[in-house]
């Protein structure tokens, strides 16, 4: 049996100010699977995402492709899981978009001779082919979102975790992103409020509320249960 791409067991986490953000979360995503993570604002989705990259330490078990997320494995884990943050301003920090997209590959030791090609390809994938020499500060929010996506695509991680990838995109951008995601072979975990996206992209959905997983199942089944969606602020 192959190891699941993502395996979270009984994960609990409190922010330093005492806010309990996760309370006994368990989650399993098989390799190659596409899963949507749904839930109202403040449910703990973003917090869970950060754990998949070992950015918070807490009680419980997180494994990526069978490798426990522990301090000594962080390098490997971060190489395998590409995280697109909810707020693109947190993700983009270089003087130019080119530098930002090149940051991850450089850390992974990609030779400079291939950088141009990798960066150009990633930017083309997200529909920003002209932006390489622009400053991320001066992009529009949707453009920032795409650039942030490119920074992670360029790393060619096996697992992609996207925090609200379509938020702020125009309809065409959203459709293009959906097409792009459908064409990817990577394992996907997508946080979203966009039920349409979940329906067309993901075979399975997980719903979180107040730090817990409250429902999970086949997308077609779960998203058909109107009372469930209403209860968790999704409809």
């Amino acid at each position: 049996m192959t190891a699941p791409a993502i395996s979270v067991k009984n994960l609990s986490f409190r922010y330093p100010d005492g806010v309990p953000a996760l309370e006994g979360v368990s989650l399993r995503v098989a390799q190659g699977e596409r899963v949507a993570l749904l839930g109202a604002n403040g449910a703990g989705k973003s917090t869970l995402m950060l754990h998949l990259n070992g950015l918070h330490e807490s009680r419980g078990e997180v494994e990526i492709l069978g490798v426990p997320v522990l301090r000594r494995n962080l390098k490997l884990v971060r190489q395998r899981v590409g995280l697109v943050f909810q707020n693109p301003d947190d993700q983009l920090f270089c003087p130019t978009v080119f530098e930002d997209v090149a940051f991850g590959p450089r850390n992974l030791g990609l030779p400079e001779s291939r950088m141009e090609e990798v960066v150009t390809h990633a930017l083309a994938q997200v529909g920003l082919p002209q932006a390489a020499q622009r400053s991320p500060l001066h992009l529009s929010i949707g453009e920032k979102k795409r650039a942030a996506m490119a920074t992670v695509l360029a790393m060619e991680a096996e697992i992609l975790c996207l925090d609200e990838p379509t938020a702020g995109l125009d309809p065409r951008g959203r459709r293009e992103l959906m097409d792009l995601l459908k064409a990817l072979s990577q394992t996907l975990l997508v946080v979203t409020h966009d039920l349409e996206l979940a329906r067309s992209l993901c075979s399975r959905c997980v719903i979180m509320a107040r730090g817990k997983v409250v429902a999970e199942g086949e997308t077609s089944d779960l998203l058909g249960r109107q009372e469930l969606l209403l209860e968790h602020g999704l409809a």
Binding site: L74, D90, R106, N107, Q133, L137
Partner: protein, 254 residues
């Protein structure tokens, strides 16, 4: 040092076959150091270094006007100190200069001029470097030149978090002004005070998230990863001729 958003001088330089940051750093910092090391009172040597500065600017196609404007903008900060020196008490061997109702120390005045000249030259060198190379390029260049990793990291983070601070300030100002901020000064002062407090909190939290985002893309502390290439013939030529020029100027019987 300046930073032009949206413009990566470094890549542009590479693409247009321009010079590597390392060569420029050695040339400009070399000149600044040569200037500062000039013994007291050797005005012709300092003058010659000034000429070297102009020569280098022309050779590297630095935008002269822009650089000079920057030097002038920065001058109050470093000239302020020099202004006070002539007023120091007379020491044995010194003599007084009369300037209207004021009595100045001659030695103090010369020292002031010397300091002002050297400071101006150093600032002019740094300003010229900054106008021919992006800050990111300079830090990468320093790193490749073997500057201590701690120094380079510090420079990178200072730069990074200054940007965060600037961005947060802009956003808060915009949010404030959008809600029709204005009116009496006491209210104004209170709002500005609150803004400064929350600016620091927000900046710290954002800095933390920025660090998380960097970590998630494989950054594990230490200097940023840079790629290196061998210096070209032209770059070695620039470095060698600059260093030679600076030494010769110093040794000439000017």
């Amino acid at each position: 040092m300046h930073f032009t958003p949206g413009h990566d001088h470094y890549h542009e330089a590479l693409e247009t076959g321009g010079l590597d940051a390392r060569a420029k750093i050695v040339a400009w910092l070399g000149l600044a150091i040569a200037g500062v090391l000039t013994p007291w009172g050797q005005w012709p040597v300092l003058g010659a270094y000034g000429a070297c500065w102009l020569l280098l600017c022309l050779a590297l196609a630095a935008p002269l006007l822009k650089v000079l404007r920057r030097v002038i903008a920065a001058s109050p900060f470093f000239l302020l100190l020099a202004v006070l020196l002539p007023f120091r008490p007379l020491e044995p061997g010194d003599h007084a200069l009369a300037l209207g109702p004021l009595t100045l120390s001659a030695a103090g005045s010369e020292l002031a001029l010397d300091m002002a000249a050297k400071a101006t030259l150093s600032v002019a060198c740094v300003a010229a470097l900054a106008s021919t190379e992006s800050l990111a390029g300079v830090t990468r260049g320093m790193q490749r030149l073997g500057a201590p990793a701690l120094f380079v990291t510090l420079m990178n983070f200072t730069f990074r978090y200054l940007l965060v601070l600037r961005e947060e300030t802009q956003r808060m100002k915009r949010a404030r002004d959008a809600r029709a901020f204005g009116g009496r000064w006491l209210w104004h002062a209170r709002v500005v005070g609150l803004m400064i407090g929350s600016l620091f909190l927000r900046s710290i939290e954002r800095a933390e998230r920025v660090h998380q985002a960097m970590a998630s893309r494989g950054y594990s502390g230490g200097a940023f990863a840079v790629s290196s290439r061998a210096l070209s013939g032209a770059e070695w030529l620039l470095i060698a001729s600059c260093l030679l020029l600076f030494v010769v100027v110093r040794l000439l019987p000017l």
